[in-house]
């Protein structure tokens, strides 16, 4: 049942990715010719009437994109900050939906701009781009912080317990030289070593090499051997995360300082843009 949920979730995520890909592809396919001609010639293009920023399609993209972003931002914010919504769904899923809406929305806005980035609204646009990019970075940092299934950040102690549990699993799986078991305990950790964000340290690579050699000498079957290596790798990852935990938690705090203000700027300027547009009578289909 748990597995089924994971598959359904995976399908859902794939669907969301596909929606973004399909929408962007359709817009690119339809408007490629229009979007790639020089600005001076746009007016004379047959698609101009509908694809320009104030056209039926172009304006619609802007409006829909804006609403997607607004909904994506505020729904996620509400789920995170308002006690009323704290029980609805898993926060991780809300984040994923937030990412979906705030990916599709900017793409629609991008097509709404017709790739013309000028005037006050450009500030909004570039803010949106900044939020979008910072969101991608944030997503990475977010993954670096181990969480409970509910998405709650785990404490250092909880992590240490997890690590011990995993080491126990490894010992039960295969009988190895004790020094190999100790490798994971001795390598890196939070003991003043430099925090690594990407890849593995030389020591980790050496440890993995030794493990593989040991498994080979003991003639452990291939499938089993892979499981043991994966267990070992998870243990290493957990170990390095524990090592980075404090740094990551600090970094994530700073990240919020960037992600949120850009989002706010985007929203404020967007409101100005909308007000100006409405003032001059550009009401889309209304």
């Amino acid at each position: 049942m748990k597995l089924n949920n994971a598959v359904i979730h995976q399908i859902f995520i794939t669907f969301l990715v596909l929606v973004v890909a399909v929408v962007v592809s359709i817009l690119l396919y339809m408007g490629f010719d229009y979007y790639t001609i020089p600005l001076e010639e746009r007016h004379f293009h047959p698609l101009n009437q509908s694809f320009r920023a104030s056209g039926v399609v172009g304006h619609g993209l802007g409006i829909v994109g804006t609403f997607l972003i607004i909904f994506g931002v505020f729904s996620y914010m509400a789920r995170k900050r308002l006690r009323v919504f704290s029980r609805i769904g898993i926060l991780k899923h809300w984040l994923e939906f937030h990412i979906f809406l705030c990916t599709l929305g900017p793409f629609l806005i991008l097509f709404h701009t017709t790739f013309k980035f000028g005037g006050i609204v450009a500030v909004s646009f570039w803010s949106m781009v900044a939020v979008f990019l910072s969101g991608i970075i944030g997503r990475y940092i977010y993954l670096q912080i181990p969480r409970s299934i509910e998405g709650q950040e785990l404490t250092l102690l909880e992590l240490e317990d997890q690590k011990i549990e995993m080491n126990k699993q490894l010992r039960q799986s295969v009988t190895l030289d004790e020094s190999i078991y100790e490798l994971t305990s001795n390598l890196s950790g939070a003991e003043g070593k430099r925090v690594r964000f990407f890849g593995r340290s030389k020591d980790e690579r050496m440890a993995l090499k030794r493990l593989r050699m040991e498994l080979k000498q003991q003639h452990i079957p291939e499938i089993r051997s892979r499981e043991i290596v994966q267990l070992f790798k998870d243990q290493l990852t957990l170990k390095s995360r524990i090592g980075r935990l404090v740094s990551m938690q600090k970094l994530f705090a700073y990240w919020h300082v960037a992600h949120l203000p850009f989002a706010l700027i985007m929203l404020v300027v967007m409101i100005i843009h909308v007000v100006v547009a409405l003032t001059f009578g550009y009401k889309w289909i209304f």
């Binding site: 005037g119 609204v121 450009a122 009578g281």
Partner: protein
């Protein structure tokens, strides 16, 4: 802590964004609208709550508004007038945006109210839409405009007629070509073109000239009452100015009637035999076609086949002949005497044909100048040629008459002396028995006395000399002046001196012949005295 930092960053970025977004324009305006750039100018074009209104456009573009009000021009056409300005002329597409965007190939000029037809359809826009043709000073100031032209031809075209004709060019000209003015009907003019006139090139009557320094063709103010207004009078007014009395418009060569025609008014008066000729004999092509008439040979054949040609040119027949007929001629003896062969003596009386028509044809050249070229030499074998070498008759004869002979007999061995010098030639040279003069022989005489004279002495004195007569006779008379009786065998002395000759020399008869006997067989006294 993080909230404080975030607040400051947010405020800073908002300030920055407001600074950057001082202008809310969605893009640069086209060059022509560049002066409207800036937030303060938005409402120059945009109406709050109503996008861009036509009124705002037309508030500036008054020239278009005026034309719309007058329902004139492209913007007032059914195709365009219902559209908002912004549909075609948008903006905010950058400085280089072509806001007018006239696609010349696709532009339907008919929508402007001025249909491009004929040659106009092949012209480039700029051929007509140029500053020079725009009347309005306001429109002239515009950097580029297609307004300001009138539909009058003279707006663009030069008045080549220099105000001599009405301004409505299309009364005569079509739009396909300025030349020829194919809509022009000459029959609507006062001078209607009939017959040959309809085929004449316009420029023949409507001449070209320079007027005001430009090429000008005159179509008005032409004189056309008389033919001579255009035509040159080849008759130099000899027949008056009423050409139509004889000529018709079909052709100058077609003549109405020749009954009244007075040929004497032409340069060739008909006289003599010419009066009797039919017109066509001379006017072979047409009576109006000019006929050369300076020389007789312009019509007549040179009967003499260029015999009179001198230095490549024959004299005119009229030098000898006149119009009374070819048999009549006026070539006088005086003129003949200017030639190499002067007519003198009997030649004056000789008819021309004696010398000049020896054969069937008349001949005036190289007929010879020597007597024998015309006359027969009757003395051939009759006179020694040394007396008329090369048959030179004039050595003896004169042109006055054949029988007037002048011959120096000293040329011969027989000198005419005494009576011989006064004797007629024929006494010696003509044989009366030969009746034809031509048969006379001069070369038969030998100088012998007996060839002319008869020896009445019956040969009593004959000796070996041919002229033995001259021993006794001279040429003056027959007296024997040179005879001396004393030189004979019988000298006369004494009584013999006074005796008459006849006493001794008796006439004797011998047969039927009587003669004086001067020769005795014996000279004895008894010969005379004893009988």
């Amino acid at each position: 802590m993080s909230f404080k930092l975030g607040t400051w960053v947010l405020l800073a970025m908002l300030l920055l964004s407001l600074e950057a977004g001082a202008q809310i324009s969605p893009g640069e305006l086209a060059k022509v609208h560049a002066h409207l750039e800036g937030m303060a100018n938005c409402t120059q074009c945009h109406t709050l709550g109503a996008k861009v209104s036509n009124e705002k456009c037309l508030d500036c573009h008054k020239e278009i508004k005026a034309r719309l009000n007058e329902s004139r021009g492209f913007h007032a056409s059914d195709k365009v007038k219902s559209k908002d300005c912004i549909i075609c002329h948008s903006d905010h597409y950058g400085r280089n945006y072509d806001i007018v965007h006239l696609v010349k190939d696709k532009f339907d000029h008919n929508e402007t109210g001025y249909k491009l037809e004929g040659k106009h359809a092949t012209k480039d826009c700029k051929d007509c839409h140029k500053r020079d043709f725009i009347a309005s000073n306001e429109l002239k100031k515009k950097q580029e405009t297609y307004l300001g032209l009138s539909d009058q031809c003279l707006t663009c075209h030069e008045d080549v007629h220099q105000k001599t004709l009405a301004v409505n060019c299309q009364n005569c000209h079509t739009l396909d070509a300025f030349k020829p003015a194919s809509k022009f009907d000459h029959n609507r003019a006062k001078f209607r073109l009939k017959a040959k006139h309809a085929e004449v090139a316009c420029e023949k009557c409507h001449t070209r000239s320079l007027r005001n320094g430009k090429d000008f063709q005159q179509f008005t103010g032409l004189q056309y009452n008389g033919c001579v207004n255009c035509h040159k009078d080849p008759h130099e007014n000899k027949f008056g100015q009423t050409c139509a009395q004889c000529h018709v418009e079909e052709s100058f060569r077609s003549v109405k009637s020749l009954g009244q025609f007075d040929h004497s008014k032409t340069g060739f008066k008909l006289a003599g035999r010419h009066q009797q000729l039919a017109c066509k004999l001379c006017h072979k092509v047409s009576v109006t076609a000019p006929v050369k008439h300076e020389r007789c040979t312009d019509c007549h054949k040179d009967y003499h086949n260029n015999q009179f040609r001198r230095e490549g040119k024959s004299p005119d027949c009229s030098e000898c002949h006149d119009v009374s007929g070819f048999n009549q001629f006026s070539f006088s003896i005086e003129k003949h005497n200017q030639s190499k062969f002067k007519l003198e003596g009997a030649h004056l009386a000789a008819p021309c044909f004696e010398c000049h028509r020896k054969e069937k044809e008349w001949s005036f050249r190289n007929i010879g100048e020597r007597c024998v070229d015309c006359h027969k030499d009757i003395h051939q074998n009759g006179i020694n040629t040394k007396y008329y070498p090369s048959q030179r008759c004039e050595n003896c004869h004169k042109v006055a008459a054949w029988n007037e002979v002048q011959f120096d007999h000293l040329q011969t061995s027989f000198v005419l002396e005494g009576k011989h010098s006064t004797t007629s030639c024929k006494d010696c040279h003509f044989d009366p028995q030969l009746k034809e003069v031509a048969n006379q022989k001069f070369n038969t005489k030998t100088g012998n006395c007996e060839s002319c004279h008869k020896d009445i002495h019956q040969g009593q004195f004959k000796d070996r000399r041919v002229d033995y007569c001259v021993r006794c006779h001279g040429f003056e008379n027959w007296k024997p002046e040179k005879f001396d009786h004393n030189s004979t065998r019988f000298k006369l002395d004494g009584g013999h001196k006074d005796v008459a000759c006849i006493k001794c020399h008796k006439v004797v008869t011998q047969g039927s012949t009587q003669f004086t006997n001067y020769k005795f067989k014996e000279i004895l006294c008894v010969t005379c005295h004893l009988r």
